[in-house]
Every structure is written in structure tokens, then in C-alpha cells.
């Protein structure tokens, strides 16, 4: 009983730490996005709240918290309330299988604990994809339940877009699954140890950088970010599926969008760029005599890779205009899908030849 209780307490601690980190990252991202976008456009971004606008996320959070919560007339009350949660929960739930640090096992109170991953399930990547698709329900239902034409159109667009691009996300990952022979993110990350050419993006003979490009483009579309932000195209649809949302529910949608960004960046760095592995074998901290602190360096590498992807999201937003709807669909189905399929075929042929040559 005490062991179960201890296990429970440890898992809860892990969950709360990771949710805390994600929420802090989202707060940082809301500020960083406005700042980076401003700097790229010769503006300053928020400057008023705190020194150089550094407290702006808290001001935004307080504002959203105290805003009036409006329910439009004719809205489906149950779905209107459920939709933000349906968007938020799948965005956060995926973090359970992300390995944040080295695959170590710590002894805490006589129990073996893997501190850097909440649960190492053997279908981790499948689990993330499944919950990412569930997140689309939140958007579609939110658009439908609002009883507003803009919301409905945003929701419909989002449904079509997410279905189209999720296919490409799934197919671009298959090459890595062939190479690693596992669906577990922990196993995939462990297999990329050593020099940086062991990362699957640069793996000799079967580099997956084309798959990485397909993955990044598709995840930008899947998280409804510029240049694929048609579900919330403000020049056409006011704010798309969350036009009618305000206050805390709007904050939930906002949080879900950013949490999804963080999640896909984490997955991208874990799958393609070696996750927590440094670009050199081992770690510098263990080399200079602190092997017990090596996890700090590994975690920092993971954070660096993830934040680089997040920066790429902002960078794309500052650069590219929005696609037209037919361009979006054509690009997804006629360009990215054949590339992803060809990548699978080529990767499997190469892997097959390598196996035969062994």
C-alpha cells in the first residue's frame, strides 16, 4: 500500500512538474512570439508591463481571467463549454510519453523511477498522434457550438486541414519507425546516441531530413499556425473557431494552441534531432567529473532543440503570408503526401539492403 502510495505521489509530482514547465513555456512563448515578431518587423513588441514588457504574459493572463464569460445566444451550452477542454486536454496529455532527459533509473524510497519520462509506453508516438487527432474535435465542436457562421467555417476548415495534414505527419514519421524498429519515444531517442550524425535527420545512408521538412510543414499546418492559419484567418473569419469565445474559455484555446506547438516541437526534436542527446558522444559534465549531473546538460540540449523549433514557428510567421485554401489542400495532398510516401519506400529499401549486407 505504501509502495503504491509512493508511486502515486512520485507520478503526481512528475505530472505537476511537467505541466508546470509546459505552462511556463507557454507563458514565455506568448511573450517571445510578440517580441520576436516585433523585432523581425522593426518594431519593439510589448514594452509597457514590467521592464521591456517582460511581465506582459501575466498581465494577459490576469486580463483573460477577469474578462466576462459570454455565451452566444443559441449556442449549444454543453458543447460550447466542453470544446475548450477537448482542445486543451489532448494538447497536454501527449507530454506524458516525451523523454525530457536521459533514460536513467533513480531509486526513490526503494522504487525504481524513470525521472525524465512520466510513462514509457511502447506505442508512445502512436499515442501522441491519436491524442493530437482528438484535439481537432475541440476545434470543430467549438466552431459548431458557437452558433456563428465564422466559427462554423473556421471549424470546418480546421477539420479538413487537420485531417489532411495529420496523414503527412504520420507518414513522415514512418521512416524513423523503420530505422529504429520501435514506437517508443524513449527507445527511439536512445537509438540516436553518439555523434550528431546518428540523429535520424542525418543518419548515414537513410537521412530523414526530407521527412523532417515534411513533418515541420505538416505540424505547422496542424497547429493552425501561419502560413496555414486558415481556421483562424483574421482577415476572413474574424478569429475562426474561437470568434465567440471570451475569458477563460478563450484562454484555454490559446493555451491549447501553444501547448500543441510545444508538443510537436518536442516530438520533432525527439524523433529527428536526437532528443536529449548532445551532438557529441556522452556529456561534457560527465567528462569533467560530474556524471551525476549529466542529466542537466542533456535536458538543456532537449530544451535547446525544442526552442529552436519554436523559434522556427515564429520565424515562419514573420515571413510568410497565408496560403489560399485550395493551395493548402493541393500542397498537402499532391506535394507532401507523395514526398512522404516516397521517403518511406526509399528508406525501407535502404534499410532492407543494409540488413541483407550484414
Amino acid at each position: 500500500m505504501t509502495e503504491l502510495g509512493l508511486r502515486f505521489a512520485i507520478t503526481l509530482t512528475q505530472i505537476s512538474v511537467i505541466v508546470g514547465i509546459v505552462i511556463v513555456t507557454v507563458l514565455l512563448l506568448t511573450l517571445a512570439e510578440r517580441k520576436v515578431l516585433g523585432w523581425m518587423q522593426d518594431r519593439m513588441g510589448p514594452m509597457e508591463v514590467g521592464p521591456y514588457g517582460s511581465l506582459q504574459p501575466f498581465a494577459d493572463a490576469i486580463k483573460l481571467f477577469f474578462k466576462e464569460d459570454i455565451m452566444p445566444a443559441g449556442a449549444n451550452k454543453f458543447l460550447f463549454t466542453a470544446a475548450p477542454l477537448l482542445a486543451l486536454i489532448p494538447a497536454f496529455i501527449g507530454f506524458a510519453v516525451i523523454p525530457w532527459g536521459p533514460d536513467e533509473t533513480w531509486e526513490i524510497g526503494g522504487i525504481a523511477v524513470k525521472p525524465f519520462v512520466i510513462s514509457d509506453i511502447n506505442v508512445g508516438i502512436l499515442y501522441i498522434l491519436a491524442f493530437a487527432s482528438l484535439g481537432a474535435y475541440g476545434i470543430i465542436l467549438g466552431g459548431w457550438a458557437s452558433n456563428s457562421k465564422y466559427s462554423l467555417l473556421g471549424g470546418l476548415r480546421s477539420a479538413a486541414q487537420i485531417i489532411s495534414y495529420e496523414l503527412n505527419v504520420g507518414l513522415s514519421i514512418v521512416g524513423i519507425l523503420i530505422l529504429s524498429g520501435s514506437l517508443s519515444l524513449v527507445h527511439i531517442t536512445n537509438a540516436q546516441e553518439g555523434w550528431f550524425w546518428n540523429w535520424y535527420a542525418f543518419k548515414p545512408w537513410a537521412p530523414q531530413f526530407i521527412a523532417l521538412a515534411v513533418y515541420v510543414i505538416s505540424t505547422v499546418a496542424e497547429t493552425n499556425r501561419v502560413p496555414f492559419d486558415l481556421p483562424e484567418a483574421e482577415s476572413e473569419l474574424v478569429a475562426g473557431f474561437f470568434t465567440e469565445y471570451s475569458g477563460l474559455r478563450f484562454a484555454f484555446f490559446y493555451l491549447a494552441e501553444y501547448a500543441n506547438m510545444v508538443l510537436v516541437s518536442c516530438v520533432a526534436s525527439a524523433l529527428f534531432l536526437g532528443g536529449w542527446n548532445a551532438p557529441y558522444p556522452g556529456t561534457l559534465l560527465s567528462l569533467i567529473g560530474f556524471p551525476s549531473l549529466a542529466w542537466i546538460e542533456n535536458t538543456m540540449w532537449f530544451a535547446f532543440k525544442t526552442y529552436s523549433f519554436l523559434f522556427l514557428f515564429f520565424w515562419l510567421r514573420a515571413t510568410l503570408p497565408r496560403l489560399r485554401y485550395d493551395q493548402l489542400m493541393r500542397f498537402g495532398w499532391k506535394v507532401l503526401l507523395p514526398i512522404a510516401l516516397a521517403n518511406i519506400v526509399i528508406t525501407s529499401i535502404i534499410v532492407f539492403i543494409q540488413e541483407q549486407l550484414k
Binding site: W39, M40, D42, M44, M47, L316, T319
Partner: protein
């Protein structure tokens, strides 16, 4: 007979390579990155720092006084006639005790309509109107922008501390033409 359709435009190899390597997007992203690295914002943090106004800035209108404190305005209504948006209303009257002189008994400006063209200032024969460099006149109540004579004089007092002498004490040419012909020497008294 159907006319043979034009052959499908084939991409040249160079353009095809540019397309598959995202060349245009890379150029655009380089541009934004260069702006990020050579960060020179053109923003002015307005309430904390203000831009320098040009010399001929046309700001809030004001009524002026002579250096002895008497009002310049002679109530001629020319500003009211010149105003294209009917901002100004002048109620003219004789100066009590001096039947040859007139002044504006009441003078109203509806600044909600003013477009700051400066025509009233040009029209004034005695330079009784001036344009100050004030521009922060945002108010919560629109009625606060209906200004009367006292308010307009107060604006003039705070914006033009250096006042002219009375017309009759100035150069005689100025007194007649309202223009200072400074190259003409004044007549000896």
C-alpha cells in the same frame, strides 16, 4: 476543328530546383532574420518619448492678446467666413464706451469639427488667432471640445508667452497693412 491547346508550361530546371529547395522562402526568411539581427526599431514609445514637431506644425487653435493684456480680436467674423467646417462662431459687439471699436463679445470653437487647415489664422486681419503646438487634446467627453472665448484665450496665454505690442504702437506700416515692411525705415515722429 479544335485549336491545339498550348503545351503545358514546363518549369525550367533552375526554377524547378528553386521550387523544391524552397529558395524563395529561404530568401524571405533570411530577410526577416537580418532584421532580427540588425535590430533597429523605428518605434517611438509615445507617452514616454515624443517626436520633434516640425516648425510649421498646426496644432490647437488659440486666441491671442497684446502685451498689455487686451484681446487682439476685433470681432470681424472673417475667421468664421473662412472656416471650411464651420468650427467658429463669433458674436461681435461694440467696445463699451468706444463706439468706433468692436470686439468679439462671444467666441466659440467646436474643435470636434476642426480639421486644422489654418485658414482662420490666414484670414485674421489682426493676427488674433494662432496655432499652437499642442496636440494632446483627447478628452473623455466630446463636449469638452466646445471651447469658449476664455478657454481659447487661456490656451493662447500658455502657448504664446511673448506677445506683440498693440497695433497702434507698432511700426506705422504694420499698423496699416498688417505686414511688417522692415526694409522701409520708420517715419520720423
Amino acid at each position: 476543328m479544335t485549336t491545339p491547346s498550348a503545351p503545358p508550361t514546363r518549369l525550367k530546371l533552375r526554377e524547378w530546383l528553386k521550387t523544391i529547395t524552397f529558395y524563395e522562402i529561404a530568401v524571405g526568411m533570411k530577410a526577416t532574420l537580418m532584421h532580427l539581427l540588425n535590430y533597429k526599431p523605428i518605434t517611438l514609445q509615445y507617452p514616454h518619448e515624443k517626436r520633434t514637431l516640425p516648425d510649421n506644425y498646426r496644432g490647437m487653435l488659440a486666441l491671442l492678446r497684446y502685451d498689455d493684456g487686451t484681446e487682439k480680436c476685433v470681432g470681424c467674423d472673417l475667421c468664421e467666413a473662412a472656416c471650411p467646417s464651420r468650427v467658429i462662431r463669433v458674436v461681435s459687439a461694440e467696445v463699451p464706451g468706444e463706439p468706433t471699436k468692436r470686439y468679439s463679445k462671444e467666441y466659440y470653437m467646436d474643435m470636434t469639427r476642426c480639421l486644422f487647415c489654418g485658414m482662420c489664422v490666414d484670414a485674421c486681419p489682426v493676427d488674433a488667432l494662432g496655432m499652437t503646438r499642442e496636440f494632446e487634446w483627447a478628452v473623455y467627453d466630446k463636449r469638452q471640445l466646445h471651447l469658449n472665448k476664455q478657454q481659447l484665450l487661456a490656451i493662447g496665454d500658455r502657448s504664446f508667452p511673448v506677445r506683440e505690442k498693440r497695433l497702434e504702437f507698432q511700426h506705422p506700416n504694420t499698423a496699416f497693412f498688417n505686414v511688417a515692411f522692415t526694409h522701409v525705415p520708420p517715419k520720423p515722429d
